[in-house]
C-alpha cells in the first residue's frame, strides 16, 4: 500500500432498512438511512461526521464496522475491500477497527470486573501470552486512560460516566486498533467532564497514531477534535472540508444554518450575531424530499433544487459541496 493511501475509504455507501407489511411480509419501502456516502480517512487523521438525528452518521459508523448489512457501495480498509467479508474474514478487522459508544454502561458487561473487561479482547484476539501478561497490560491501560491500576478489581457500576468512558477507551486500546469509530462519545457526559475525555482522545491519538471517525452532533466538539469534517443531512454528505475552511467559509446552506444555530458562550457576541433560524424539522428518511433533500427548509432554494439532486463536487481546494447554488 502506498504511504499516502487512505486507511479507510467509503465509496457510494448505501444502507437501506427494508420495511415489511402484511402477513406475507411484502417489502413496501425502505428507510434510506445512508444513501450514497463517500469519504476517505487518512492514517492518523480525524474525520468528523456531524448532522442532526436521522442524518445517517451513526449508521455510517456501524456500516464501516460491518455491524449492519451494506445495501450498496464499498468499504475499503487499509487496502482490503471488506464490504462482503463474512464473520471469519472480518475477525482481524474487528480488532483493528474499534467502536467507542455514547453510553459505555450499555456496552460493558456489569458482571465482569474492569480487569476482566479489558482482558477479554486480549483473549479473543490472542494479544497476550498468559493471564499475568493480560493483568499487567490491563493495569497499564488503566493508567494510560487516567484511572488507577488498583481500580482493576472493581465493577462498572462503581464508576461515574466519565470514568466508564475511560474504561471503554482502555478496552478498545487493548486490541491495539488502527481506527476508532467514536459515536457521540462525550454527549452523555457532564460539561466539566467532556473536556477531560476530549483531551484523552487527543493524547492517545498522538501516542498511538490512531485514526478517528468521530461521529457527533455537537459542532464545537467536532470542530475541536477533527482535521476534516463531513456534514450529513438525510443520508447524504452535503459538505466536506477541512475544519478551518468549513467553519470560516461554509458553502452549503445547511452547514451555514447549523453553525448559526449553535450559540456561542459569550452574551456580548450573541447580542450582535445575526439570528438566522432555518425553519421546520428534518423530514423522514422513509420518504425523503425529491431533488435536494434540504430544499423544503432551504432559504435559498430555486426550482431546480426541487427536482434535481445535487452531487458532491469540489468547490474550492479541499472543500466539496452538494448544492446547485454553489
Amino acid at each position: 500500500m502506498p504511504p499516502d493511501a487512505p486507511l479507510l475509504e467509503v465509496a457510494d455507501l448505501k444502507v437501506h432498512f427494508p420495511i415489511y407489511r402484511g402477513v406475507i411480509a411484502k417489502q413496501v419501502g425502505a428507510v434510506k438511512a445512508v444513501d450514497g456516502v463517500s469519504f476517505t480517512v487518512n492514517p492518523g487523521e480525524t474525520l468528523g461526521l456531524v448532522g442532526e438525528s436521522g442524518c445517517g452518521k451513526s449508521t455510517t459508523g456501524l456500516a464501516v464496522l460491518r455491524m449492519l448489512d451494506i445495501t450498496a457501495g464499498r468499504v475499503v480498509f487499509d487496502g482490503t475491500d471488506i464490504t462482503r467479508h463474512d464473520r471469519a474474514a472480518m475477525r482481524p478487522f474487528r480488532r483493528r477497527i474499534q467502536m467507542i459508544y455514547q453510553d459505555p454502561f450499555g456496552s460493558l458487561d456489569p458482571r465482569m470486573s474492569v480487569a476482566a473487561l479489558i482482558a477479554e479482547p486480549m483473549i479473543v484476539h490472542k494479544l497476550a501470552a498468559n493471564a499475568a501478561e493480560r493483568a499487567e497490560r490491563a493495569r497499564e491501560l488503566l493508567e494510560m486512560v487516567g484511572l488507577r491500576a488498583d481500580m482493576a478489581s472493581r465493577y462498572i457500576h462503581e464508576f461515574s460516566g466519565g470514568q466508564r468512558q475511560r474504561i471503554g477507551i482502555a478496552r478498545a486500546l487493548a486490541m491495539k486498533p488502527d481506527l476508532l469509530i467514536c459515536d457521540e462519545p462525550v454527549s452523555a457526559l457532564d460539561v466539566s467532564i467532556q473536556a477531560q475525555i476530549v483531551n484523552l482522545f487527543q493524547e492517545i491519538q498522538a501516542k498511538f497514531g490512531l485514526t478517528y471517525l468521530f461521529v457527533a452532533h455537537d459542532l464545537a466538539v467536532v470542530r475541536h477534535i477533527s482535521d476534516r469534517i463531513a456534514v450529513m443531512y438525510l443520508g447524504r454528505i452535503v459538505e466536506i472540508a477541512d475544519r478551518d475552511t468549513l467553519y470560516r467559509a461554509p458553502l452549503h446552506p445547511y452547514t451555514q444554518a447549523l453553525m448559526a444555530a449553535v450559540p456561542i458562550p459569550d452574551p456580548e457576541i450573541e447580542a450582535t450575531r445575526p439570528q438566522i433560524t432555518v425553519q421546520g424539522e428534518v423530514p423522514s428518511a422513509l420518504n425523503p424530499p425529491p431533488g435536494c433533500r434540504f430544499h423544503p427548509r432551504c432559504p435559498r432554494a430555486v426550482a431546480r433544487c426541487k427536482t434535481e439532486e445535487p452531487q458532491l463536487r469540489e468547490a474550492t481546494s479541499g472543500q466539496s459541496v452538494a448544492c446547485h447554488l454553489v
Partner: protein, 322 residues
C-alpha cells in the same frame, strides 16, 4: 418589587445510599419579564430547585425542609395543596425536557392545550378548543387549526415542544419555568424553540426561569445567570458580567473547558479535573474544593456563603483573588 423572591430554599431526599440535600439554602430574586438561567451539571440541584418551587417534589422521599418563595404575595412553599393547584398551570407554568412524557398520549393536543383554561378560567370546552387552535397557531405549529384534534404521537419532537409552550401560555402565566426544554431536540430545532420562547415571554411580559447545562444557550437567551454546584448556588450575576468576569473558580473552569465555534480550534482544552460530588458524601467546607485549583486550607472546613463581590455579582467562594 421582585415577581419571585426565593429565600433559603432547602430540599432533602432520602435515598438507598443515604440522605442528601439536593438543594441547599438557595436564594434568588426574579423580576417581571426577566429571564434567569439556572446552570449546572447533573446533580447540581437545578431541576430540584424548579420542582421545589412548583411543589412537585416526590414525597415522602423528598421534602422541602426550609425556605420561602414569595410570588404575588403568597409563599409558594407553605401554600395549601389546593391553592397551589390553582397556581400551577395558571400563574406559573412549567415546560419539561421530554414533551412526549409530559403530554398524555390518549388525549388530543388541542384538549391538552385547552384544559388549563377550563380548569382555571371556567372556560367552556368549545371556547377552550378554539383558543387552543389560536395558541397552537401562535407557537407556529404548521397547520395549527387543522391539527387541534391530532394526538401527540402525530407530532415531531419540535412540534410537541411547541404544543407544550402553547399549553404553558394558555392562562397567560406571569412565570414560566422551562427545565432543559430543548435538550432532546436537534440544534436547528433548539434554536427555533428557544427563539420562540424568548419572543413570547417578551410579548407577554412573563418572566422565565431557564434551566440548562448549555452555556451557549445561556449566553444567547438569559438576562441573569445563577450557577449551581453540589446543591448550592455558587455564583449569580448578569449574563454579561458572569461571562466577562467569572468570579467563582467553578464558573471560570466551566467557561475555560468548553470548545467554542468562534475560537481557534485544536488548542488543548483546560478541563476541570475530578468528578462532580456525590451528594450523599459531600466534603465538609466547599463542595468544589477537591476540584478547585485555588483551594486553600480554609476551604476544607468553611462552607462559603453567597456574598456580593461586585454590585449585583454574588459568589460563594472564600478566595478573594477572583
Amino acid at each position: 418589587m421582585a415577581l419571585l423572591s426565593v429565600r433559603g430554599l432547602t430540599t432533602r431526599f432520602r435515598t438507598d445510599r443515604g440522605a442528601l440535600t439536593a438543594v441547599d439554602d438557595v436564594s434568588f430574586d426574579l423580576d417581571e419579564g426577566e429571564t434567569l438561567a439556572i446552570v449546572g451539571e447533573s446533580g447540581s440541584g437545578k431541576s430540584v430547585t424548579a420542582l421545589s418551587l412548583m411543589r412537585l417534589i416526590a414525597q415522602p422521599a423528598g421534602q422541602i425542609v426550609a425556605g420561602s418563595a414569595m410570588f404575588e404575595g403568597k409563599d409558594l412553599l407553605s401554600l395549601p395543596e389546593e391553592e397551589m393547584r390553582s397556581v400551577r398551570g395558571d400563574r406559573i407554568a412549567m415546560i419539561f425536557q421530554e414533551p412526549m412524557t409530559s403530554l398524555n398520549p390518549s388525549i388530543s393536543v388541542g384538549a391538552q392545550v385547552g384544559e388549563p383554561m377550563v380548569l382555571h378560567r371556567g372556560s367552556t370546552w368549545q371556547a377552550a378548543m378554539a383558543k387552543a387552535g389560536e395558541l397552537l397557531d401562535r407557537v407556529r405549529l404548521p397547520d395549527a387549526r387543522a391539527r387541534v384534534n391530532a394526538y401527540p404521537h402525530q407530532f415531531s419532537g419540535g412540534q410537541r415542544q411547541r404544543a407544550m409552550i402553547a399549553m404553558a401560555l394558555a392562562c397567560q402565566p406571569r412565570l414560566i419555568i422551562a427545565d432543559e426544554p430543548t435538550t432532546a431536540l436537534d440544534v436547528t430545532v433548539q434554536a427555533q424553540i428557544l427563539a420562540l420562547l424568548k419572543e413570547l415571554t417578551r410579548e407577554t411580559g412573563a418572566a422565565l426561569i431557564l434551566i440548562t447545562h448549555d452555556l451557549g444557550v445561556v449566553a444567547r437567551y438569559a438576562d441573569r445567570v445563577a450557577v449551581m454546584y453540589g446543591g448550592r448556588m455558587v455564583e449569580t450575576a448578569s449574563a454579561r458580567a458572569l461571562y466577562r468576569t467569572p468570579r467563582h473558580p467553578y464558573t471560570e473552569g466551566l467557561l475555560a473547558s468548553i470548545p467554542r465555534l468562534d475560537q481557534v480550534a485544536g488548542r488543548r482544552l483546560i478541563p476541570i479535573e475530578g468528578q462532580p460530588p456525590d451528594l450523599t458524601r459531600l466534603p465538609p467546607g466547599c463542595a468544589f474544593r477537591p476540584r478547585c485549583r485555588r483551594a486553600t486550607a480554609a476551604c476544607e472546613t468553611t462552607r462559603p456563603a453567597l456574598a456580593e463581590a461586585a454590585p449585583g455579582h454574588w459568589k460563594a467562594c472564600l478566595n478573594d483573588a477572583a
